[in-house]
């Protein structure tokens, strides 16, 4: 491999450091053909990624955009109503900090409702007991559906025995690939059997069977 190819592979697949990126920038600056080749590589493999990563499909993109449009449209109205409510409260000076804290809590809780219209508490499961489970819930993606993480990750959203909506990640399993769309374009109703296990200090669900409910 030439040095350019090494740097290109670092850029595309690795974690190049500042010096390596500066070196690549220098090469591209000095050679316009190389710069053009670099641009082609970015274009080609971006097209491939869009065509193959389910979370990057046109439908997933459209769905995420719609969510953002809705969130933006609702935001000013929401802000106004909270401001109005706060104005109406004639609070004694001493209690102002308390009201501010309370308002912040209300805003945070309401934001959760705004971005999660089903009113679901998006907390990741932490207290579930290890062992076999049988869950009725929804397939969700940590990135596409819940927008909680940068990368896609399969999870199940369900109501636990106390009635609290809970999210539990699924353990990586190549057998689940066939359901990618149900997660990324979800939520999709599902019945899952499996075991709750601990991985890196987090309780996750190792599914043994997963049935999509039509």
């Amino acid at each position: 491999m030439t040095r350019y190819e090494e740097l290109l592979s670092l850029y595309l697949d690795g974690d190049p450091d500042e010096a390596e990126l500066n070196e690549l920038a220098g090469m591209l600056r000095d050679d316009s053909e190389l710069a053009d080749d670099f641009r082609q590589e970015l274009l080609i493999w971006e097209a491939w990624s869009q065509a193959h990563a389910p979370e990057r499909s046109a439908d997933a993109f459209m769905a995420a955009l719609h969510t953002r449009v809705r969130a933006q449209a609702d935001a000013p109205e929401f802000e106004l109503s909270v401001t109005e409510k706060l104005k109406k409260q004639k609070s004694p000076f001493l209690f102002r900090p308390l009201f501010a804290i309370a308002a912040a809590v209300v805003i945070l809780l309401s934001l959760n409702v705004l971005f999660n219209p089903s009113g679901i508490d998006g907390g990741i499961v932490a207290t579930a007991e290890a062992g076999p489970v049988h869950l009725h819930g929804e397939c969700v993606c940590m990135r596409c559906t819940l927008q909680k993480e940068k990368r896609c990750g399969k999870a199940i959203r369900y109501r636990n025995e106390h009635g609290t909506i809970t999210i539990i990640r699924l353990a990586r399993d190549p057998g689940l690939r066939q359901y990618n769309k149900c997660f990324c374009k979800g939520p999709t109703d599902v019945v899952v059997d499996g075991r709750i296990v601990e991985e890196n200090g987090e309780k996750i669900l190792q599914a043994t069977s997963l049935t999509i409910e039509e």
Binding site: L10, L12, F38, A47, W48, H52, P54, E55, A58, L65
Partner: protein, 176 residues
Amino acid sequence: MSKIHNLDFDALVREHQAGLRAFIRALGADEAWVDDLAQEVFLVAYRKQAQFDTEADFGKWLRGIARRQVMGERTKAARRYRIMHAGISDILLSLGVDKHEPEPNHDRVVETMKGCVEKLKQQQRELLRSRYEEGRRAKELASEQASTAAAIRKQLQRIRMTVRKCMETQLKRVEI
């Protein structure tokens, strides 16, 4: 979504999203943030829809917004992570608007790639799948395969070179 001067915004997004995302990536955006930036471009377009001249090229208008968006990333210290490197983005931005027109035959490029990837060995196809379908980086793949990140990158780079060579032959053949 509403309509832009009687144009269906949804239809416009659907038509332009793939090309716009490729365009943004080719301006040096980090792969994990390409879609985020593209959505912001569409949000700006949606907000400024009244300014759009219906006689003009919608794709070109979007690409203009995208260029400004990427340029803006360079100046926002807190958000600089959305582009890989300011110097590289500068070079890609300087290549000029014309060079950043999205591939006119985007679908054909993907189809040709599919044909070329089919010709790869099973293990190579599997590596590409892990990288692009599952979005896993070299370091992650290396730990699973008891290999090194450098070795995985080398394999991916060889695959890319093979696919690119095959594509060039295939596309030339079609042009003839």
